[in-house]
Symmetry: C2
Amino acid sequence: MLLEAPVRGFPDAEFLARTKSAQNQMAQQGLDGILLMTEPEVRYFTGFHTLFWQSPTRPWFVFVPAEGKPIALIPEIGAALMRKSWLDDIRTWSAPAPKDDGVSLLIDLLTPLASNAANLGVMKGHETSLRMPLGDWERLIAALPGLQISDATKLVQGLRMVKSAAEIEKLGFICSVGSAAFSKVPEFVKEGMPLESVFREFRQTAIGQGADDAPYVVGAADQGGYADVISPPSQRPLKQGDVLMMDTGCTWDGYFCDFDRNWAIGQATDEARLAYHVLWRATQAGIDAARPGNTCRDLFNAMSAVIAELDDSGGDIGRLGHGLGMQLTEQPSHAVFDETELKENMVLTIEPSLTYGRGHMMVHEENIVLGKASARLLTQRAAEELPII
Amino acid sequence: MLLEAPVRGFPDAEFLARTKSAQNQMAQQGLDGILLMTEPEVRYFTGFHTLFWQSPTRPWFVFVPAEGKPIALIPEIGAALMRKSWLDDIRTWSAPAPKDDGVSLLIDLLTPLASNAANLGVMKGHETSLRMPLGDWERLIAALPGLQISDATKLVQGLRMVKSAAEIEKLGFICSVGSAAFSKVPEFVKEGMPLESVFREFRQTAIGQGADDAPYVVGAADQGGYADVISPPSQRPLKQGDVLMMDTGCTWDGYFCDFDRNWAIGQATDEARLAYHVLWRATQAGIDAARPGNTCRDLFNAMSAVIAELDDSGGDIGRLGHGLGMQLTEQPSHAVFDETELKENMVLTIEPSLTYGRGHMMVHEENIVLGKASARLLTQRAAEELPII
């Protein structure tokens, strides 16, 4: 039974607004253009949405000029789909082409800028990758003497951090789908079931509830608690006394939920129950602290204060939550180093974790959207006490 | 009902053999080490297998020295899983850390090499990305004066192109799962069903047949033929006279199948039937030409000769198939530019396409493994005539 879904895609006005916002900031920062090549950024400015990015073979480029619509420089295989977007200027080449995978198209585009010693923005900062061969990048830059290169990471990430109403609707929907899928877990999980089968059933359930896909399903189960949260599932059958955790990133129309749930199988130790309850309260402290004006560091500190009742090691996950949107994890990070000011319409995960007992760890996670004064849950809040299946 | 699966993972001996092969070639090419940072390459040398790579936040590094085991330089969140691998030297940092995401660990590791003006291999060629911030790469190189950087793309891709017996077993299994899922399509597809529901049902079916996931499900359907093969599914209901195509990359234990199937709904035009039959024969020509000693170009030419009976435009997909393994698409490419010599134990897709009628296109695809003298199908061969549902 599918939940009722919102409308797919975005009106052209939304891409225009995103582009105008970028161009306003580019003007302030003296950028004459931004060259983008990663999936979420290309999609953010064009609406170009395809699973084809899973093929690493071909590079894709979008150039955001100082004025006017973005320009796409893409493999011919994507031309039909890109022509459905709001873009007018779509330049293609027959890719793959090892000797010239878009490089000469980029040189043609950027040579006038280089001649003017213009300033080109490229994402080269934290949490970015160069999604083209490094050798091609080096050749491109060598062919454009005079071109200044600046880091546009903060500009683009700053735009993407604050979601539109339509983005929030998509995120709310996939969080509802994830919540519905998690609510069915006690119906199909039982003692003796191999963890791999639990994951398989969960994936099918999430898709059955309306997710386009459930690309990220990780978790663990072990006696009294688990010790690792990124491993693939084993064939080990669930046993009485296991703590089971599943963490999922399901997608709908290219937007992710990212949250987890914990259960005990048959019975739970006092230790596991306590860890759960502390994390539930740490999550609550995070949700309460998530309001415009506070920073990510404030959020981190609010959660850490509760976690420290049981574990003052600081953890090894590096942060206690993050941004959420077209990617499973986005900026900002709830961490000591991140002083990003929280703003209305940011969508965030609240993800406290701790270690307890003999090498056990536990993670809780919820997804929220920030309102004017406080946060609203997008996920159905986890039970206050460790649920027993 | 699950098909019977092979054993997951690989024995340590396989990672040792891969490393020794790399080191033999490194010695021949004068490389003193290779720095890797992309998921398939890290997994190839370590066995480190996690969905966590879907989070773009953290970089991961593996260094293959001239002698001895690879060294991992990774975020602490991956330490527990990496410790299960055959590696001994695992260096970690608490990531994310925007000011130093592994860079100083890399500098410590590579400074002795730089002092000796050593030659470091990095993958910077065709079909590669730099999966770390470009700014961090620039800082790293600036901190290592004297270090020579060479392109290790061909070396690593060359190793990965030829599969081991265990890899072929995994690939064969997921191809069987994909074939079983496709065989069920006529049971659930009917006129009036929206394409989105077709895709959803297919994903659940593939997972139900034993796939770990079906991350890549694309396709199209339209009257007399489709026009685009990378779009997400629409809500348009299937109609009499549609040609439906689905192309899937399903995964098992981190290995992909990648093939498609075509069906007509209710009835088919002569044009569509002819296009199908020509592509079926082009596929056969590709399979027949796929033998050690021939090149990828030979394979391309064998298919093109048949395709040209109906369409001599050369197509816009850029190639007629590719390598297959840990990635949906890998080297080599069946294209005019690719003179890679085919070798025993390569796993390839055979993927001819053509355009016909008024803007229609069609794609066929099968997966094969090369034996000593000829190819063996891993997929259950498509029907010789366009099947009608």
